[in-house]
């Protein structure tokens, strides 16, 4: 009550903040090494989730002028998190818990300690000077990129990118010390997003996409040329209030519980976990894209369902690694399942077309799509474009393979940064039949490289493959081919949720992404299920209505 912040806190009504945290983390607590480590992790989680809360606020409410201060708040927390995850004290806690681990210890406990050890060694293998230099280069890179993109000036961005590549290479060299198997620099940088990922596997998985997807795109383009009316009709915008209402109805029908989740508006849709019982999703209404908010809601809800379904049960899970999402690819598979497999499906279009119509008044002018087939096609434009985040299921994978190959070339194959635009544009022309006129719509479009984030893009494509393979396993379990469509037609998506909630979400980090797929589907991950699915969908979309 006598902090300098006193008055401010009181104006905010935060009277209960004055208590010491000792209530939750008694100083000098005694207990087993395991318990002490658990308390340490719990505290780390609290800090991490505070960051998430600040991030959520920043992107939904914060006034623009608050940005600099918010940056300092986040940096302060990041510093505390880094310290908690790499300090000698923490290393001792992990070591003591390992020493305490008897031969009869539960395997979950062993796995948790393995994962913690791996992350600890990674943190400790890094030179703090490099960590600092990287943070500064990321921050600079982002600022330079924002400006270069706005002015469509790749050459202004090139030196920053060059510096980020050099620093990331150094980082990979330092991290190599913590690796138990030999990995290339790109592979090392990709580990945090996709544990155990290798270039060899990605090449196996992506090779069929590089062959089949351009062929399918060509087929679609030919068909569109023959029957212009089969394209997605350009529906007028839906009123914003109607879009909001339909998003709300969608969530309600998919088990949204406002006591556990809240949704807001933000410039870019995202999903966020703020605590073990506190989930948030955001959407935006995009002028000229009447179905964008609806599909983004389905997508973000898919992410949130996974987070909400992660195991929380006992001492092995929260706040331990086993209670976390296992990889970005698996995360993305969950959002893509609900967006593409469900919300873009024919069965779903049939069920929801009447709602969209009646939202527009129900009169003769209330159907800009001219019936269910048109509505379904509007949900699946199958029209290649320059921008990844606007891509549909058919061309999305090619956007990713392109980025994967180029970041590999930059990081490991000595490709000069200056060649990036030309290499980008060449692949776009070959695979998608489109060449960007401006780098701002080409190699400057994504934020990832601007912050030196290499190794992240493949997860997006893996998400499509994993979603398709899990969907096949789901159909086998739920009654065979067509079971998903059947559940959707019957308005019983909760059956799909129940299956994911029984088979996928509780696995946490007990397995990596590939192991998860193998365990759930009985098969090694491959591109085949996705290609089967997308071929079938293209065919159905082209069938006479």
């Amino acid at each position: 009550m006598v902090e300098p912040q006193g008055l401010r806190a009181i104006r905010c009504g935060v009277r209960r903040h004055a208590g010491p945290s000792g209530l939750f983390f008694p100083m000098g607590a005694v207990g087993s090494a395991f318990t002490q480590l658990q308390q340490h992790l719990h505290h780390t989680r609290l800090l991490g989730s505070i960051s998430s809360a600040l991030y959520y606020d920043q992107n939904t409410v914060m006034p623009a002028a608050g940005a600099a201060w918010r940056g300092e708040q986040l940096a302060l927390l990041a510093g505390q998190l880094h310290e908690r995850q790499s300090s000698a004290e923490y290393a001792e806690l992990v070591g003591a818990a390992e020493a305490e681990l008897g031969a009869d210890a539960p395997p979950e406990r062993r796995r948790n300690l393995e994962l913690l050890r791996l992350e600890l060694e990674r943190q400790r293998s890094l030179d703090p000077d490099l960590v600092r230099a990287l943070a500064m280069a990321q921050s600079r890179g982002n600022a330079v990129w924002q400006d270069a993109r706005a002015r469509n000036d790749f050459s202004a961005f090139a030196p920053a990118l060059q510096e980020l590549i050099a620093l990331r290479r150094q980082q990979a060299n330092q991290l190599a010390a913590a690796e138990s198997v030999a990995r290339s620099p790109w592979e090392i940088l990709a580990q945090p997003f996709e544990p155990d990922v290798s270039k060899a596997r990605l090449e196996e998985l992506f090779a069929p996409l590089k062959v089949e997807l351009p062929a399918l795109l060509e087929q679609v383009a030919r068909a569109r040329g023959q029957a212009a009316t089969k394209g997605a009709p350009s529906a007028a915008d839906l009123p914003e209030a109607l879009q909001e209402q339909l998003c709300g109805e969608l969530l309600d029908s998919w088990g949204y519980d406002p006591a556990r989740c809240q949704r807001s508006r933000s410039a870019h849709p995202f999903s966020c976990t703020l605590g073990p019982q506190d989930f948030r999703i955001t959407t935006r209404v995009v002028p000229g894209q009447p179905l964008s908010a609806f599909l983004a809601t389905a997508h973000e809800w898919g992410h949130s369902l996974y987070e909400q379904g992660l195991p929380r049960g006992d001492d092995h899970y929260y706040p331990w690694p086993l209670g976390e999402a296992t990889s970005m690819g698996v995360h993305e598979s969950q959002s893509l399942f609900w967006e593409c497999r469900v919300a873009r499906s024919q069965a779903f279009a049939e069920r929801w077309h009447p709602r969209f119509r009646s939202g527009l008044g129900g009169g003769p002018a209330s159907d800009p799509w001219g019936g269910v087939p048109g509505f379904w096609r509007a949900l699946n434009p199958l029209q290649p474009g320059l921008i990844r985040v606007e891509a549909d299921e058919l061309s999305y994978g090619l956007h990713i393979v392109l980025r994967y190959e180029l970041e590999l070339a930059l990081l490991e194959q000595e490709m000069p940064v200056e060649e990036l635009p030309q290499q980008w544009n060449r692949r776009m022309g070959e695979w998608l039949g489109l060449v960007p006129e401006r780098d701002s719509e080409g190699c400057l479009q994504d934020i990832h490289w601007a912050e030196g984030l290499f190794g992240y893009f493949p997860s997006y494509a893996l998400g499509h493959l994993i979603s398709a393979q899990l969907a096949e396993a789901m159909e086998r379990d739920l009654g065979g081919a067509g079971a998903i469509a059947g559940a959707i037609a019957a308005g019983e998506e909760r059956r799909l949720q129940q299956w994911l909630g029984a088979r996928v979400w509780p696995l946490g980090r007990s397995v990596n992404g590939e192991e998860l797929v193998a365990r759930v589907s009985g098969q090694a991950l491959s591109a085949e299920p996705f290609l089967r699915y997308i071929r079938g969908k293209v065919e159905a979309l082209q069938a006479p209505s």
Copy 2:
């Protein structure tokens, strides 16, 4: 990038969090003691403002199930704040800065160090065991009170209150060591809210209120009896969207800048500062009270204007004490000025009545108030009630004096806790002519005592007195009696803001509340300006329309 939180952070897109805070707080930074202390305070501010951000989220968006985790996050930050404000390391920083202070040091620096020293000594005079016991008792007290109020069972709350009183007395005893002058326990507890406040001064200030306000209330009641039509007409509810729109128009006309401030909905209106350039206010729409959101917006905006106007200029202010609000009474004077002196004024009613009418359609049925005088009376019901937070300007002071006297009796005069309901009800009957039928509408209505918050209530009444006295000074400067009404009539409230921004807000904590009033008005604070103002208002409200 390799924290356990990695994936979660990335899902949230918080990629830039990975940087170390070293950017902002270099380890082992060298510099003068002053600079080191400033860095320490800056860091403390960051933590305090993170708490405020979490509080804001909690009250505007957070789903109910997030409460327990949020409580842990806030307790963690409170612990860090307490540590930073009482540690030996911090004490050394303050001591070194004091030692560095030469005879020619600027007076602002001296004042800052005095304020920091005072707060430090307070923090360090407290036994950590007591701090912990208090935090637990507050938390328990709040929970017990929620339940007791819901069940209207004072006896269930009495033991918790008794314990809080005992702990607060202990706290006052410990804090006495840090006081430079002799103060009673109640006075010591009130210092954080109203620095240098004394019972003797409060008795001087409140005595005229106890005499005059009941008399005025009686006069109003008599007049109402004679002419029933002069009461506030009971307007039908205004549509929620219209209330929102009018609140927005009000803020726009009062200089609201969405780049620096955002507003949200919350269960109870509040104003909050999240950073030096990040302000928030909240309101709510209350069914059956069509003007509530509008007046609350005026009130909270007044708080926010003060915060936005606090000095930020140079090394003496942010993050130093001089850059802070000086007292709760002064803070409240700023909100009350905009709510009561401006938004409830006759000139304002005249200017805004057409907007309310046109918002309702502008037709003959669009004026539930039957003209400006009725609208003005609706803004000023002058009808005593049982509930403090719903009280108008005339009876509000009496609600406060009642609480002040009772908490004094509890803390310093051995009044048994059991007598509280009876003593409460007796005063309500005498002063307001109303006796609560239930304690939930009587001595159980406020949260303050449930958390052992004694010494806080008088600031609310001081706010009325300070607002009135500053308003008289403002009128002298702006052209004499009626200058405020004149500015409002001309739609030039910015002139009033400019005056406050020149005379009041920049003072920060260079003076305490009473000194501020004396400096700005040239007179010691007294109840007379408020009584002059309220007598005039009552008379005008009763004049034939």
